[in-house]
């Protein structure tokens, strides 16, 4: 399905055509849900938050000035809503050491992962990502899977761009560390 520019639909909704909002929902629902799901890790809760986000955005649409991209503004609402929901349930802690990650480690892990079957690779990624704190999981997904820029991620999360880069660097390192541990454990079980 091809969509027009967000501003077209926004203009229609603000002009009184409420049905045009469905196009905005269809266009952005996947990433809104992904953000909520990465933070909440619960499908139904994430869907409820996604609905809530679209309702909030609709009510605030007339005050949307267009200073930021609509999508970024929407994802920011999603991030804040999901984080608030998540904090109600439990505090989020993350501790990553700042040890440098070297090319040797990445190459070795890369080769080991390449030797796995597709299903095994998926299982490995899911296991490792499950262990990551919710916010790190989200940053990783936005940057590496959804191709969001550092600038966009900074706007969505409210962190500075340099902070996002530092976090991504640490998360990447942690990801490799955890992958390494997973592969070693898997090798032990097989061997």
């Amino acid at each position: 399905m091809t969509f027009r520019d967000d501003s077209f639909y926004i203009g229609q909704v603000v002009g009184g055509d409420q049905s045009a909002y469905a196009a905005l929902v269809d266009k952005h629902k996947a990433l809104v849900f992904t953000i909520a799901h990465k933070i909440l890790r619960h499908r139904e809760e994430a869907e409820e938050v996604a609905q809530d986000v679209f309702l909030k955005a609709f009510n605030a649409l007339s005050s949307f000035k267009g200073d930021a991209k609509f999508s970024t503004w929407l994802y920011r609402i999603t991030y804040n809503t999901a984080i608030s929901q998540s904090r109600r349930k439990k505090p989020v802690f993350s501790a990553i050491d700042d040890e440098m990650i070297d090319n040797y480690t990445t190459d070795v892990i890369g080769k080991s992962v390449d030797e796995l079957s597709r299903e095994e690779q998926i299982t490995a990624v899911n296991k490792v990502m499950e262990k990551l704190p919710e916010e790190e999981n989200l940053l990783l997904t936005l940057f590496y899977k959804n191709d969001k820029s550092i600038e966009d991620i900074a706007e969505i999360t409210g962190y500075s761009q340099s902070n996002v880069k530092v976090k991504l660097y640490r998360i990447r390192k942690r990801m490799y560390d955890d992958l390494k541990r997973y592969l070693e454990k898997a090798e032990e079980q097989h061997g």
Binding site: G16, Q18, S19, Y21, A22, V25, D26, K29, A30, F33, T34, H37, R43, A46, E47, A50, Q51, F54, L55, F58, N59, I101, T106, G110, V113, R118, Q121, I122, V125, N126, M129, L140, T141, F143, Y144, K145, I150, K165, L168, Y169, R172, M175
Partner: protein
């Protein structure tokens, strides 16, 4: 990507993380969202009257009165007396005054208020006052409710 991003750029990780499929939203997600949106009620815009009702009533009353006077009053005597007036004969002015009085007395004496017309006038007045009363009563109750 600038030079500072070299430590986070990672095609292998990108490929690896993209492998698992994302959880899918329920098919009726959009319709659920749309059903949850507040309904925008567009109040019918009442056409604004350009002329106040009282002015319209006044114009109607004046027109009816003028038509009534035109058909019920005999002005020929007044016109004749007016034509005969002259500065040299002040008595003629007296005749003019008499003609005016006569025309008006004849005209008004022609008005007969029948029982039907009295009933109509009383009914219309009752409706008018009842309308005012109910409007005030409704406004008062509505304001209290809010």
């Amino acid at each position: 990507m600038d030079k500072n991003n070299t430590h986070i750029e990672d095609d292998f990780l990108k490929k690896l993380i993209s492998l698992p499929e994302d959880e899918k939203l329920s098919d009726d997600f959009t319709s659920k969202v749309m059903a949850g949106l507040p309904k925008v009620i567009v109040a019918p815009v009442e056409a604004k009257r350009k002329i106040d009702l009282r002015i319209i009533g006044l114009i109607a009353a004046v027109s009816i009165t003028a038509i009534f006077i035109f058909f019920n009053f005999d002005f020929s005597g007044i016109l004749k007396a007016a034509a005969e007036t002259s500065e040299n004969n002040p008595v003629k002015y007296l005749n003019l005054f008499t003609s005016i009085s006569k025309s008006f007395s004849d005209g008004f004496s022609g008005i007969k208020i029948s029982s039907i017309s009295i009933t109509a006038v009383i009914s219309l007045a009752s409706l008018y006052f009842a309308d005012i009363f109910f409007k005030k009563w409704f406004n008062q109750n509505h304001t209290e409710a809010i």
